[in-house]
């Protein structure tokens, strides 16, 4: 059977979920018998091509996140929200009850000890959205792998299920929200 093509990325996340994926350790070799990587921090491929599975860590906090998420959705047959931030918005979403303008003002203009150089407006920088969203509020998401991060065993279980064509079943100890 041809290998499944898998892409991964981290949006408004901390790469902790990617680290946890790597924590499956030597099982990576077993996994690589069945999958190959497209865009991912591991390959340094910059854009996602047609894939079977897309794994996205992190929520949606800025315009670039939206563009990357859409690129994944266009290219991946199965899109998976990985980790608390992708599933719930997570830590970054704790700014959602604050006004974005007030946040930017405090961070760049009024907070003591800063150079007060003004709010950055370089077009290279992605603009923040007024709220942080979990993935499923912006595109259709097919599976959710919660956890902060999901345990390595949960990644292993989830991916081996997907590779084998089974609906992923995590069970006690592998479903975690923290």
């Amino acid at each position: 059977m041809a290998k499944l093509r898998v892409a991964t990325t981290s949006l408004a996340g901390c790469f902790g979920c990617h680290m946890s994926l790597l924590d499956i350790d030597e099982r990576l070799f077993e996994l690589l018998k069945h999958i190959e990587f497209d865009r991912t921090p591991l390959t340094d491929i910059k854009h996602c091509g047609p894939c079977d599975i897309g794994l996205i860590e992190g929520g949606i906090c800025n315009a670039e996140n939206v563009e990357v998420l859409r690129e994944f959705r266009r290219n991946c047959k199965i899109l998976v929200a990985v980790g608390a931030c992708a599933v719930t918005g997570g830590l970054p979403a704790q700014r959602n009850h604050l006004d974005l303008g007030a946040c930017l003002t405090e961070v760049y203009l009024t907070e003591p000890g800063l150079a007060h150089g003004g709010i950055p407006n370089d077009p290279e920088l992605p603009l923040p959205l007024d709220k942080v969203h979990p993935l499923h509020e912006v595109v259709k998401v097919d599976y959710f792998l919660p956890g902060c991060p999901p345990p390595a065993d949960a990644f292993w279980q989830f991916l081996t299920d997907l590779v084998a064509g089974r609906t992923p079943e995590l069970g006690h100890g592998l479903i975690k929200y923290d």
Partner: protein, 251 residues
Amino acid sequence: MSENTFNLDGSPVPFEPGQTVLQAALAADRYIPHLCYHPEFKPHGSCKVCTVKVGGRTAASCTFPAQAGLIIESNTEEMNALRRTLVQMLFAEGNHFCPSCEKSGNCLLQALGYDLGVTTAGFRHMFPDRPVDASHPDLWIDFNRCILCELCVRASCEVDGKCVFALSGRGITKNLVVNSPSGLLGDTDISPDDKAAHVCPVGAILPKRVGFAVPIGERRFDLSPISAQALADAPRSQTPAQPCSSCEGSE
């Protein structure tokens, strides 16, 4: 089937007159998922997680009176799907950031989610703007996590006799309020020894200075799922506490 039994998922459950379906089931070591029910208080049936099918119709098992001959379905895909959606609704309604919550691992809402296989809130998160009340020297309230189960309201009223908590608003604006002119917990007569200070199933009412004491992996629901623990959870049968006549909890 003998006189005082009903049938739960195919096998008989005995009951005493006056018991509800959930009370009788728990007393007979039979688990029905539940959240706002607590064996020490009069059941009121607001969370609806304990909904079962009774003779083809649905009812909250915590308030439905046990009767001889009832045919009850609980552990079915249909009922568990309903419970899953209810738990998802609660997650979407509040701000439940488990990774930064000290109740994580000991939280009933979270444990129910785990056991029911909830991997996402699914719906759009409401991200409500709710305050934190840290005014009390020994306790604090994070309203972001409140699921409006009224256990603290009932405990404060029925057990502590203080009525420190009540509910205001309605519909999606319903909210927990505190019985002091300032509206702050620090200005009430609540004590850290009160039942109301310990009964919160989630991380809304917590003691100060004792968070994150148990390492991840050793917390209550790290060890085994809620369905395996709920039966050992609390005393099963006792005389119901006296409701306070002037309070919300009297319902």
